[in-house]
Symmetry: C2
Subunit: 270 residues, 2 copies
């Protein structure tokens, strides 16, 4: 089993990813796709008069401030337009794709963080943010995935997840993909985005880190990575800890982006 995460940043080439996945499916390679939708969620939220806000946690991670209205807009883009757009495109390419969110059949269940410790952007002081619908995936309904894959369907999976109390929660897509890959005992997790991998000097693409040992992940996260890449490295670490053999951070751009990553193009972490 191969788990692929394709990000939701501006510039991600979904068409190249779908074409590559369709070819892999025809070759008999089982896969599960996890996707994002962040950039478009920002656009739709702004158009609907509820512009996005981001918060930085005390440990330095940036995430979307997610109130109830944000969850609804998030679902519109991730589970609606993006998920169904990918299912439609994959179906047209001959893949019997089936879209699921983490809510469906409790696919991605976890703990809701009712209070987030954040750094106040105005004062720089730490404070607690409440009424937030965010959380972390703890369990994956692998039975549902196996049921569908066994019957010839190709899962296309999207946040949000579901809390133990059955609330929709915004869970990070990279970390959700890592959890899924671990739960399915996937050989490889491929995380595709709009950059070629971990860059030593962002955004200089010539500074790509081609290999990273598991033991060096924590320091790379603290010293090299910026922004979203820090969470991708956290996801990579969680995937390896979950039993995944190899994580490749690659670009969605160019021909055969999935196979290029599988061939080692990008940052290979093992």
């Amino acid at each position: 089993m191969l788990v692929i995460k394709v990000g939701g940043a501006e510039g991600v080439d979904y068409e190249a990813v779908c074409q590559d996945l369709a070819e892999l499916a025809k070759e008999g390679q089982p896969w599960l796709l996890v996707h994002g939708g962040s950039h478009e969620t920002n656009e739709v939220a702004t158009a609907l008069g509820h512009p996005p806000e981001f918060v930085t946690s005390a440990s330095g991670y940036t995430s979307r401030k997610t109130d109830r209205r944000t969850i609804e807009i998030f679902e519109m883009v991730y589970c609606g337009k993006r998920n169904k757009g990918l299912v439609e495109r994959l179906q047209a390419l001959g893949v019997n794709a089936l879209g699921l969110s983490g809510l469906d059949g409790r696919l991605l269940e976890g703990r809701r963080k009712k209070a987030l410790k954040i750094v106040d952007p105005e004062t720089g002081r730490r404070r607690v943010l409440r009424d937030t619908y965010t959380g972390t995936v703890e369990t994956v309904n692998t039975g549902l995935i196996e049921l569908l894959c066994g019957a010839g369907y190709w899962p296309v999976v999207s946040p949000p997840g579901i809390s133990h109390e059955s609330e929709a929660i915004n869970v990070d897509g990279d970390r959700a993909a890592a959890k899924i890959a671990g739960a399915l005992a996937a050989e490889t997790l491929v995380i595709l985005s709009d950059v070629p991998g971990l860059l030593r000097d962002f955004p200089d693409e010539g500074s790509l880190v081609t290999h990273l040992a598991k033991a060096d992940l924590a320091s790379a996260r603290e010293e090299l990575a910026q922004g979203r890449m820090r969470i991708k490295l956290l996801g990579a670490e969680e995937a390896l800890e979950g039993g995944v053999k190899r994580v490749v951070l690659g670009t969605s751009k160019g021909e055969h982006p999935v196979r290029a990553a599988l061939a080692g193009k990008g940052t290979v972490i093992e």
Copy 2:
């Protein structure tokens, strides 16, 4: 098997429907829910600067003018916010709900009507509307529904459907529910909306038609029904033709709306 359609008009009481469905599930009654989202699609489409337009076919049926951008907004509301909102609520009520659109696993496949014969609202003349993403469900992937129901999941189904060429197509929810009920050999199809059933003198609720024979459906459609109710009666006819024993048109309002309809409250068609 019981198939329930709950409409997307303003004033539909989803909470009452979910609570009733959860109780039925606990009593061991298998069901499949089909839902709409029309009112909210109108709101979101307007907010996003792509206000809804409706066309009237030469045979007198009104439908949403559906270009590619409309399909995306439609998916945002139907497959995103509404579908996931219902799944979340049912999960909170103890039902292992799982949302699917007609695209997923080609659940609702049919023919795309590339050209619609409509009545021009300005000139009153007939003309042909092209580039529309609408169609009619022809086949239901009952294998997928049986797979999921057999494994303990409760399907929550939403348009759009998928064309034979794998394009997302706007299919009518009532008629899709009728097709599903027929394909599953459901005993009863319950169609809930914001009105108590077929009204002889709309909107006078005292003029409710309590029983309607299958043989009288065509004339009722022509002589009594207006607007959306005409399509519901067409769906009822198609369900009975598909082998469903009984169709009940009822209201989503009040306690136990599903069981009230099953007990004969509304317009019973058989």
